[in-house]
Amino acid sequence: MRVPLEWLKEHVAVKVAPKALAERLTLGGLEVVGIHDSTDGPVFDIEITPNRADCLSILGVAREVAALTGQRLKLSSGAGGGSQGAREKRHPRPSPLAPRPRIHIEDRKGCARYVGRLIDGVRIGPSPDWMQRRLAACGVRPINNLVDITNYVLFEYGQPLHAFDFERLASGTILVRRAQPNERITTLDGVTRTLTTDMLVIADAKAPVAVAGVMGGAGSEVTPQTTRVLLESALFDPILVRRTARALGLASESSYRFERGVDPAGVEAASRRAAALIQELAGGAETYALDVGAKAPRRSAISLHTEHIQRLLGSSMSPTLMRTTLAKLSCRVASDSSGRTLRVEPPSFRRDLVHPVDLAEELARLSGYDRINARLPSRTMSAGTSEAGSRYARLQSLRCFCASLGLTEAITWSLVSPEELARCGESAQHGLRLSNPLSQDHAVLRPSLTVGLVQAVRRNLTQGAGGVRLFELGAVFRASEPSGKHTEQLHLGIALAGAWNRDWQGQIRADFFRLKGLVASLVERLCQAALHVETISLPWAEPGYGVELRIDGRPIGVAGQLARAIATAWDVEEPVWLAELSVEALLELRRASTTARAPSAFPPVKRDLSVVVDQAVAFERIARAVREVGGALAGRVELIDRYVGRQVPEGKHSLTFGIEYRDASRTLTAAEVDVLHQRISQVLASQFGAVLR
């Protein structure tokens, strides 16, 4: 809302510098976001919050200035720039020659009141300079004296007005009604619009002549030839105007004010003000004034318990100060015999004052928020023992653990494009779509972290990164047909590409086992469990390189190499390794606390075991056999070397196990370890055809 200072001063005395006034308004809740210069002096740019419709006018801001600075409102509101005349004519003299307009409100809910004034004999021409300058300062282009006057009063009083060319209204009739199905109107902006029965229109005897509260029609607009004008000042329903403006994609200064609510008691005053200005500036005489509909009902009073306000604000503001402060805002205040309960009747223009708390804000802001002394609450202490509260701490430590493994945290878009989903081998049908996306690039809620992570990998490789190690913790969304149920789950994604680490001593490349090791570390740390994998077919993974990740047989996620074809489609040359885990599963399988065991006091016996075995035999089967035969005494079994090459036959590899034998209660003898060690190699030989090296 733009407010020229000189116009404001017509309604209230301003005794401080513009900057000081701006500061006072800002701290009073009307934020001055800028002060611009115009030929007539400074113009304030004020941000009016949606609750303060009463401040969408010069008069409204003047009322606010008066309340905030302790000045009186000037009541001589008939001035109008340099103009001296423009006195209100309270008793129109009907001319016997003038036709009598007919006004009927059919939809009383949509239009509570309609004031029409007929002014006969106007001469259309330009409006005076002072008016044009003020309108320009408010951001409105001058058109002609009639239209300018309606705009001028809109800005001055906050009441939208419209001027019809009365001769162009069929049968001189104004009918406020709902539009008929498919009724059409060409609005002032030259666009022909199709209306629906949800919309309120002003119609003449034949057709709509204006979209009520939004915009007038071209067919009845004031032209240079107009001599008889019907001036409309009405009260339209905020919700109806808002829906109509939205449905038509048409917003105006008028609809903006009606949506937020205009002063029901100001309809007649604005009409009189405009009629007076018309007669002064465009000539003519008012011949009829019709006021149809209900007068503004009296506001119901708010019962204000002063102790409640004190408790809410944490302030000791006295009931007397409350009374005087509310009176400054034009509230009618009465108090009960105790003086502790006030009966407050807000003025008609403050439609936002409904609850006692609304008055609490008025009291706080008028005396100044800075006058309420800050204090720290003292309360009983709580250790935050709820399950929900500790969940976030667990997620934070999961993030920290990922970072400690060498992974950098990414945050990728939750909204992805259907095309990119398809390029990652994911069907968009699992993704929930937005009904109002900004663009197709971000139109679907991600069903997995894949797209975002692949994008991040590509970006970094393109920018010359030698290696990419990323993780992300984020929600993924899925639709399940046809029930319409949807899921939102927290996933942990890992992406590796290029070098895992490179320095002058050498390079370690990211590969499947690096990825598997990272996941195994997480599982070991969080769940104190072993990770198992099972080859499966994944839509995005290279065949044979995709696995399901499991703990104790329960699936917790998937991992693998991004299919080469997909990588190529993304212009990525490097192999990309991806894992995605369900965080819920990890948290459910989390081992809350450990019971510690003292390490054995008896020394272990360490033996290595090298066997040459067919590569087709899964390592895990061999390892399991070693553990089974070794039993409780084989405390630790590790693969410490794997060799493929000239020294072993084609299709075979050499595996070296490091086995640590120990007993918690005694020292093992070399002889008993030898027996056990030998039995292991015998079992490997018989079960897998393994040959001892």
Binding site: A364, G406, I411, A475, G484, H486
Partner: protein, 348 residues
């Protein structure tokens, strides 16, 4: 010159010889023969000592003193050289100026670490961290927060709607939450006061991407409700929090504002961190930076969750995490947070 003068000169010469020989020794093994040579029973020192009884009484003292000084000097040089030799590398040595080998470093995203500082402070002040869904119903995002349909206050909350029939039509359409406030409602529906919670999380609004807007960003929401929490408490808690976050000298101001779900409502500004209130490009020449919104929970919100507004009162506040991270780290383009460029992420 009488004869006894000669031993003193000789001791001087011997010290020079010993010093040179010790300095040239390249191993502990080479030092032992030098000890024998200069200090042993058959050394020149031993012979000079034998001459002392025959010298005149006045010379006797002088020779004895000098001989002891010689002995102490040589012993000390031998000790020092032994230590020096022990510290010498045995092999060919290394170039210690070659780069160290680093372990691959991972990092937390700057939004995560900023969230971490915010939540750390609020947790210390007794707030409990709770999360809620990003996919939300109209009821929680709007209706229960006193943001009715067809009301202009909804305009401040442009929202992405999800194109799927709502599985729970009573709760309205499905949408991506446009603020973290719906979690307030969810928590209040399930718990009774007193409550002190903070809610971090992603939120979504259909704002096209530019240096200061993103359709996805993070918020932290706070809520404190009991039978007495007042606007003064709100000011106290936020003053304390902002001083802890931005420094002990941080100046704050509370400006009346409008939010449908709080009344009275305020916006909180801090004196610009770049210019301390003078006015610069960071604060748009205002001298103040808008940092968060807050207010006393609206009675209609309490009613919507089944609380009695006559018996409970409290405050809510909310802030944008990206904005705080940008101020703290001098980031001028919000998009950098979501490009995931390691050259950016590696700085935090």
């Amino acid at each position: 010159m009488s004869e006894p003068a000669a031993p003193l000169q000789e001791l001087e010469q011997l010290l020079a010889d010993a010093t040179g020989a010790i300095a040239q020794a390249q191993s502990a093994g080479q030092l032992e023969p030098l000890r024998v040579k200069f200090l042993g029973r058959k050394s020149r020192l031993a012979e000079i000592m034998k001459l002392i009884p025959r010298a005149s009484p006045e010379e006797r003292g002088e020779i004895g003193k000098r001989a002891n000084q010689f002995k102490a000097a040589v012993e000390s040089q031998l000790r020092e050289r032994t230590v020096a030799l022990a510290q010498r590398p045995t092999g060919p040595g290394i170039d210690v100026t070659l780069p160290g080998i680093t372990t691959p470093q991972g990092r937390l995203h700057p939004i995560t670490s900023t969230l971490g500082s915010i939540l750390g402070l609020l947790t210390a002040m007794g707030f409990e961290t709770i999360e809620g869904p990003e996919l939300e119903y109209e009821r929680y995002n709007f209706d229960a927060l006193n943001i009715p349909r067809d009301h202009p206050s909804r305009e401040s909350f442009d929202t992405f709607f999800v194109d799927t029939p709502s599985p729970e039509p009573k709760k309205g359409r499905l949408l991506l939450r446009s603020h973290t406030s719906p979690v307030q409602v969810r928590v209040m529906e399930q718990r009774k006061p007193p409550l002190r919670i903070v809610v971090p999380g992603k939120v979504y609004r259909p704002d096209p991407l530019d240096p200061s807007h993103s359709f996805m960003f993070h918020q932290v929401e706070g809520l404190m409700v009991d039978d007495r929490t007042s606007f003064a408490d709100l000011k106290g808690v936020l003053d304390e929090f902002l001083r802890a976050l931005f420094g002990a000298n941080t100046k704050t101001r509370f400006r009346p504002h409008f939010f449908p779900f709080t009344e009275p409502s305020a916006e909180v500004d801090i004196a610009c961190t770049s210019c301390s209130g003078v006015g610069c490009s960071t604060c748009g020449r205002k001298g103040w930076l808008e940092i968060m919104g807050c207010g006393m929970v609206h009675p209609n919100v309490f009613r919507a969750v089944g609380y009695d507004p006559e018996r409970v009162q409290g405050f809510a506040f909310g802030m944008g995490v990206e904005r705080i991270a940008m101020l703290k780290h001098g980031v001028t383009d919000i998009r950098l947070f979501f490009e995931n460029d390691l050259r950016f992420l590696g700085q935090f």
